[in-house]
């Protein structure tokens, strides 16, 4: 048998194979050139949080002859979105042009120098379209606007009309946490909240403390030397609400692992009574459970302390432009387009994530999807919302809260001082988190 190397492989003649290889090489290099953006129009990559297609639709709409905006989907969890973006930005990765940022992480990114400043004319555009003050505040770091507010979310108190009808609670008046816990417990209802060990739990704690007239942090501009004010009368009021619910019959069995989704399941179940949740939940049952959809009532977020105006949670998304983008100017131009009122409206229509401006709320389709009083309630709630402290150290503070306030059944009047002490040590680098 002849040695292997001396045999010619079967198939195409050698000359044709060489020609084929050359053609493949040429094609590959032209593709590489296209990818690198040397030829053709630039591609602006927008890293978005997962949604029902709203951001992709807006990206397509804002693509022009000059550039194309494409989307890449980030993980579901806000903390994971922060991790993925910040690690790549710390490495000055130029492939990120635009990003959807959760408000609590804006300050951290801006402080690290990851974000390009919003130009003055774009700022004027945002003010002109009536961007909510809460959204502007959350998008500002050290007096500079660093993200474009895109949508502004808030929570309201959702209730089952059939359940409330069985009770003597008047939902046309402001209600307190104490009232809804008692009412649910007395009538066999379960109350839906977000109390898993995650960012959503910090959101709830922040809303409760703010609702009592306090805040978690003061002098956030002092960086790591900020003043923690968790250990306060307002902190105790917040702890009391969580303690009361955890020890009440109204607590769902999965309280310590509850999130937006499980709260929605509890609310849609047989024992559904009240739930605090974001705006998009309104159309959650349309397809799956129309009876529940017809039974949904809504009112302002509950008061922590009777008579003290409630401060609903503030959420949303701002669009940041990477300081390391190769196409920073184009990305800033694209971001200004993405947050135009009509685009905010399109996104809200598709995803249920409400606009960040009054002009966005004027988008006609929203009037068909949401009753007038609900749209009014959303806007009023966003205006009154308590944002999480704008500090680059929010993730440390949030994780410390989660460590010391979880599980809800462990919360008592000692929790606020312990939490403050622990968080202080974490900020000083003296404790593991």
């Amino acid at each position: 048998m002849a040695p292997r190397s001396s045999t010619r492989p079967r198939g195409r003649p050698r000359s044709r194979r060489i020609a084929g290889s050359v053609a493949s090489l040429a094609l590959a290099s032209s593709l590489l050139a296209a990818c690198s953006g040397d030829s053709g129009k630039p591609e602006l990559v927008w890293y978005i949080n997962p949604d029902a297609g709203g951001q992709a639709a807006v990206a397509e709409k804002c693509s022009t002859d000059e550039y194309t905006v494409t989307t890449q989907v980030l993980p579901q969890d806000a903390s994971q979105q922060r991790i993925q973006l910040s690690r790549r930005l710390a490495a000055e990765d130029p492939s990120i042009d635009l990003m959807s940022l959760d408000p609590p992480f804006t300050a951290e990114f801006a402080d690290a120098g990851f974000l390009a400043d919003v130009p003055q004319d774009a700022r004027a555009q945002l003010e002109e379209q009536g961007t909510f003050q809460g959204a502007m505040d959350a998008a500002t770091w050290e007096d500079k606007l660093v993200v474009f507010p895109f949508w502004s979310n808030t929570q309201v108190l959702w209730y089952r009309k059939s359940f409330v009808d069985k009770t003597d609670l008047d939902m046309s008046q402001p209600v307190t946490w104490d009232q809804i816990i008692q009412t649910a417990a007395d009538n066999g209802g379960k109350l839906g909240v977000q109390a898993n060990k995650y960012e959503g739990y910090s959101v709830w704690i922040n809303a409760l403390v703010s609702g009592a007239g306090g805040q978690l942090v003061e002098n956030a501009d002092k960086g790591v030397d900020l003043d923690l004010t968790i250990d306060s009368a307002q902190g105790e009021d917040a702890a009391k609400v969580i303690e009361d619910l955890a020890s009440s019959e109204a607590a769902p069995a999965d309280l310590s692992v509850s999130n937006e989704g499980t709260a929605g399941s509890t609310f849609g179940g047989d024992a559904g009574s009240f739930m605090v949740n974001w705006t998009y939940i309104f159309h959650n049952y349309d397809e799956t459970d129309p009876d529940v959809a017809d039974d949904i009532g809504y009112t302002r977020y509950p008061q922590t302390v009777e008579g003290e105006e409630s401060r609903p949670p503030y959420g949303g998304i701002g669009i940041g432009v990477s300081a390391f983008s190769d196409n920073k100017d184009l990305a800033l131009e694209a971001a200004a387009c993405l947050v135009e009122p009509e685009n905010q409206g399109i996104n809200a229509e598709m995803t249920g994530n409400m606009p960040a401006s009054t002009a966005g709320y004027d988008y006609p389709a929203l009037a068909e999807l949401y009753p007038d009083d609900l749209r009014q309630l959303f806007q009023e709630s966003v205006d009154a919302a308590a944002p999480r402290s704008v500090t680059p150290y929010w993730s440390d503070i949030s994780s410390s809260l989660q460590s010391t306030w979880h599980p809800p059944a462990s919360v008592n009047q000692d929790t606020p001082p312990e939490s403050q002490d622990f968080t202080q040590q974490v900020l000083e680098g003296g404790r593991l988190l």
Binding site: D254, S256, R431
Partner: protein, 315 residues
């Protein structure tokens, strides 16, 4: 005794003469393998050195300008923190319980795989399937199984006095630890079984037959013949699985995210480095994790050596 168990001659002082050809071949071999050795050093030693270096700094990824040399302060912080010791305890507990349970169940599986005549291939494949499943996937499967809303565990086992229809498996420490350990045991018992099967197949049938002829019961054959002859295989299985269990991460990440005090050392390290982006503190934890794995390996090897020596003494 079979020849495979005999030791090589003890005299190693007399070196055989090496021919010129052998020397040349050795040299060629070293030359050929050198790039791979250099590459291995680069990919293993360099990150370890980098972690050691970073662990001496206060360094946060999102505040690079505040980087500061602090010597061994990170190690002091870690070693004086109750969280570190709690997580170490969790990790050791998970390791001891899962390895112990897996050793027993794995041995039973190995016996079945070794002795079965009918449908042997099918049986072996079925037993090994869980090990072929990605840990994250199996963790999700068990999370769903134990879920309060749609899991089957509560529905199937509510006749047991400590399980109710509304038992929240991830609602408190011990329930959550139990669920994590069940998923770990389910996933890795086949690995243990595989290693033990290899040991089992080395036990001489002649010795077993001789013991049977001498009137030894099944139990006596197990304890006096099979297990002593499998000692090396058992040590390897325990060592591999213990080190594997000490690194437990995926199940905890998926099932509880460390809630209910179920965090392991790997998870704590992950959170410092990845979530908190505290590169200095996290690197210190990584170094301590590496050292504790070395210590663990040394302890297990030493433990089995002591046993072997005492067994020989008794024998």
């Amino acid at each position: 005794m079979s020849t495979t168990l005999q030791r090589p001659p003890a005299d190693v002082s007399a070196k055989p003469a090496v021919s010129d050809r052998s020397k040349a071949e050795n040299k060629l071999g070293l030359t050929l393998v050198a790039p791979a050795v250099v590459m291995m050093l680069l990919v293993t030693a360099w990150p370890m050195g980098q972690a050691l270096y970073l662990s001496l700094f206060r360094y946060r990824l999102t505040a690079p300008d505040d980087r500061e040399f602090i010597g061994i302060d990170n190690y002091v912080t870690v070693l004086t923190d109750s969280l570190f010791w709690r997580d170490t305890w969790n990790t050791v507990l998970i390791m001891v319980v899962t390895v112990a349970v897996e050793l027993v169940i794995g041995f039973a599986f190995a016996m079945v795989m070794h002795r079965i005549i009918f449908a042997r291939g099918l049986m072996r494949t079925s037993i090994l399937i869980p090990y072929g499943i990605i840990t994250v996937v199996s963790a999700f499967a068990w999370q769903f199984a134990f879920s309060l809303n749609n899991g089957f565990v509560n529905a199937w086992f509510s006749w047991l006095p400590w399980i109710a229809e509304d038992t929240n498996w991830f609602g408190d420490h011990w329930h959550a630890m139990f669920a994590i350990m069940v998923s770990e045991i389910w996933k890795t018992t086949p690995f243990m079984a595989l290693l033990l099967l290899a040991g089992l197949s080395q036990v001489s049938e002649d010795m077993l037959e001789a013991a049977q002829v001498d009137g030894a019961t099944w139990w006596q054959r197990l304890w006096k013949v099979i297990l002593p002859n499998m000692r090396a295989a058992i040590m390897v299985a325990v060592l591999f699985r213990a080190l594997d269990a000490y690194r437990i991460f995926d199940n905890i990440y998926i099932m509880t995210r460390g809630a209910q005090d179920t965090e392991s050392i790997s998870f704590l390290t992950y959170r410092q480095v990845i979530e908190q982006m505290q590169l200095g503190l996290g690197s210190a934890l990584s170094v301590l994790l590496f050292l504790s794995v070395l210590l663990l390996a040394w302890l297990i090897v030493k433990l089995f050596r002591v046993d072997l020596a005492s067994a020989r003494g008794e024998g």
